[in-house]
Amino acid sequence: MTDIAVRKSRGIRHRGALAVFLVPFGALFALFYVIPIGYAVYQSLLVVERDGTFGPAVQVFGGLTQYIAVFENEAFWSSIGRVLLFGVVQVPIMLGVALILALLLDSPLVRGSKFFRLAFFAPYAVPSVIAAIMWGFLYSPNLSPFTGVTQNVDFLSAESVLWSIANVVTWVYVGYNMLIIYSALLAIPSEIYEAARLDGASQFRIAWSIKIPLVVPALVLTGIFSIIGTLQLLAEPQVFQSFSSAVTSTFTPNLTIYSTASIPNISLAAAMSVVLALATFVLSFTVLKLTQRRTAA
C-alpha cells in the first residue's frame, strides 16, 4: 500500500531533482540535435532568387524545388550507389573476419587470447584520418614497406581505390566488432555446450551449430550500424584525395554534401543532408524492427 503511494507521488515529490537530472541533457539534445535537424529541413525549402543577373540574392520559399534538384543530381546518386556497393562487399567481409576471430578467441584452441584481443582492438584507437594517412603511405609505390607489391599493383587507381579505402575501414573496425561479438559469446552459459562436448562434438561443430545461431542478433546489429557508417563515409576518402586523383569531390554522399555546401549552395546541400539522413534512418530503423521480431521469435 505505502509502496504504491510512494511510487505514485514520486514524480511530484522529486520534481526539483528530476529537473536537475534531465534539463542539462534535454536542453543540449534539443539545441544540438533537434533544432539543427529542424533548421536543415527549413533551409532545404529555400531557393535563392536574384533581380536580373546582377541583382542582390534573396532567399525565398521554394517548396520542394531543392528536393527535385537532389533527385536530378546524378553525382549525388552515383555517390550513394558507390557507398552501397562498398557496403555490400566490405560489411560482410569485416563482420565475417570479426566473427571468425571472436569464435577462435572464445574456443579452447587459442592460447594468449587476452593479448590477441587487445592486438586486434588496437586499430580502433587510431582515428580514421590517421589510419587513412598511414595506409596512404603503405599503399604508396615508393614509400611503402611493401614496394615489391605496391610497384606492381596500383592500390590508388580509379578501379581499386574504393577497395583500398575498404581495407582501411576494415582494419580500424574489425577489432571493435569482434569485441562486441565476443561479449555476446561470453554471455552464453557454458552448460549449453557441455552436452555437445560430452557427445564428442568438435569445436567447429559447436561453433557452427550452437554459438553462431546464438550471436546472430549481435551480428545483425553490428551489420546495421556498419551500413549506417558506410553511408556516412567521409574522413577516409577525404584524406585519400591527397594520394589519388581518382577520389573525386563527389566520391561519397558526405563529400558531395561538403563540396556542394562550399560552392556555396547551402540549400541544396541541406536538402541532400536531409535525404541522406532520412535514408539512413529508414534503413536502420527497418532492420532494427526486423531484428527485434526475429529475436523475439
Binding site: P36, V110, L118, G229, Q232, L234, S242, Y258, A270
Partner: protein
C-alpha cells in the same frame, strides 16, 4: 567512425544483472576442458590465423613507430620495418618547433575537446539515464525513445545542420562550435539507463532518503559509484568519438589555432606535395596522436570491457 558510435547498442535492453563478472567465466570455461581432445592440427591452424591477424593489425602501427624514429635520409633508404639511427626524439623536437609549436596547440585543443567534453557529456548522460531508470514520470518512455532515435542519427549527418545553426548566431570558427555539440551522448543515456536499472537497487536510494540525503546528492555519492563501469565506458567511447571527429571541425573551423589534431594533420597531409619536408612531421605527428588513445584503452580495459559486455549486446 559513425559505424561505431552506433553499434554499441542493442535492440532491447540487455539482460540486467549481468555485470562486470561476465568477462571472467570464459577463462574457467576455456581452461576447464581445454586441450586433450583438440587435435594438434586444429590448434596449429587456429594459432596460425591468430598470428596472421596480429601481423595485419599491428604492422601498420609498427611501421608508423619505426618510420617516426628515422632521419629524413634513412626514411627512404633503409628497411622500412626496422630501425636505423634512432632519431625519434629529434623528430619530436622538430615537430614541436615547427611554426611556433602549432602541433602542441592542436594536441591541447584535442585534449580539451575530447577530455573535458567527454567528462561533461558522461555526467550529463548519466544523470539523464539514471533519472529515466529510477523515477516514474509522465512521458518517460517517449523521452527515452526520442533519445534512442538520437543514437541512430550519425554525427556526420548533423555537421552541416550544426554549421548552418552556428552561422546564424555568428559562432562558427569558435571553440564552442566544436565543443558544445560534443557534450551530447544519446548512447550514454541509453547505457546509463540500462546500467542504473541493473546495478543501483531501489533499497539503497530509499535508505539514503531515510538518512535525509537529497536526491541529487544520492546520485553523486552512491549511484555513480555503482555505475562506475558504465560511466568509464561512456567516457571512453565519447572521448574516442570526439578525438576522431573530423567532419564537424572541418566544416566549422577556419582558424588553425583552434584545430584538433586530426584536422591539423589532415591539412598538413594535403600540403605534402608542395612542402615535402612536412611529410616527416605528418608521420611523427600521427604517432603522437594515437599514443594517448592506445594508453587510455589499455589502462582502463578492465572497465570498458565489462561495460561493453553488459550494455552492448547480450
Amino acid at each position: 567512425m559513425t559505424a561505431t558510435t552506433a553499434s554499441r547498442r542493442s535492440a532491447e535492453p540487455a539482460k540486467p544483472g549481468r555485470s562486470a563478472k561476465t568477462v571472467k567465466p570464459s577463462k574457467a570455461r576455456a581452461g576447464g576442458h581445454s586441450g586433450i581432445r583438440e587435435s594438434a592440427v586444429s590448434r596449429t591452424i587456429a594459432m596460425a590465423v591468430m598470428v596472421v591477424a596480429t601481423l595485419y593489425f599491428l604492422t601498420p602501427i609498427w611501421w608508423l613507430f619505426v618510420a617516426s624514429s628515422k632521419t629524413r635520409a634513412d626514411f627512404t633508404t633503409t628497411a622500412p620495418l626496422w630501425f636505423a639511427d634512432f632519431a625519434l626524439f629529434e623528430n619530436i623536437a622538430a615537430l614541436f618547433d615547427y611554426r611556433n609549436a602549432v602541433f602542441l596547440r592542436w594536441l591541447a585543443n584535442s585534449a580539451l575537446y575530447a577530455g573535458i567534453g567527454a567528462l561533461i557529456a558522461t555526467i550529463i548522460a548519466a544523470m539523464a539515464g539514471y533519472a529515466i531508470a529510477k523515477y516514474t514520470f509522465r512521458g518517460r518512455e517517449t523521452l527515452f525513445n526520442v533519445i534512442l532515435g538520437g543514437v541512430l542519427v550519425p554525427a556526420t549527418a548533423l555537421a552541416l545542420p550544426l554549421f548552418l545553426l552556428f552561422s546564424q548566431v555568428g559562432a562558427t570558427n569558435t571553440i564552442w562550435a566544436v565543443f558544445l555539440p560534443s557534450l551530447v551522448s544519446p548512447f550514454g543515456v541509453y547505457l546509463s539507463r540500462i546500467y542504473a536499472a541493473a546495478s543501483v537497487p531501489d533499497e539503497i536510494i530509499e535508505a539514503a532518503r531515510i538518512d535525509g540525503a537529497g536526491e541529487v546528492r544520492t546520485f553523486f555519492t552512491v549511484a555513480t559509484r555503482l555505475m562506475a563501469p558504465a560511466l568509464v565506458t561512456i567516457f571512453l567511447f565519447q572521448f574516442v568519438a570526439i578525438w576522431n571527429n573530423f567532419f564537424l571541425p572541418l566544416i566549422m573551423l577556419r582558424d588553425e589555432s583552434l584545430f584538433p589534431v586530426t584536422l591539423g594533420l589532415y591539412v598538413w597531409n594535403t600540403q605534402v606535395s608542395q612542402i615535402p619536408d612536412i611529410r616527416a612531421l605528418v608521420i611523427v605527428g600521427s604517432l603522437l596522436s594515437i599514443i594517448p588513445l592506445i594508453l587510455t584503452f589499455l589502462g582502463l580495459q578492465r572497465f570498458w570491457q565489462s561495460g561493453l559486455a553488459n550494455g552492448g549486446l547480450k
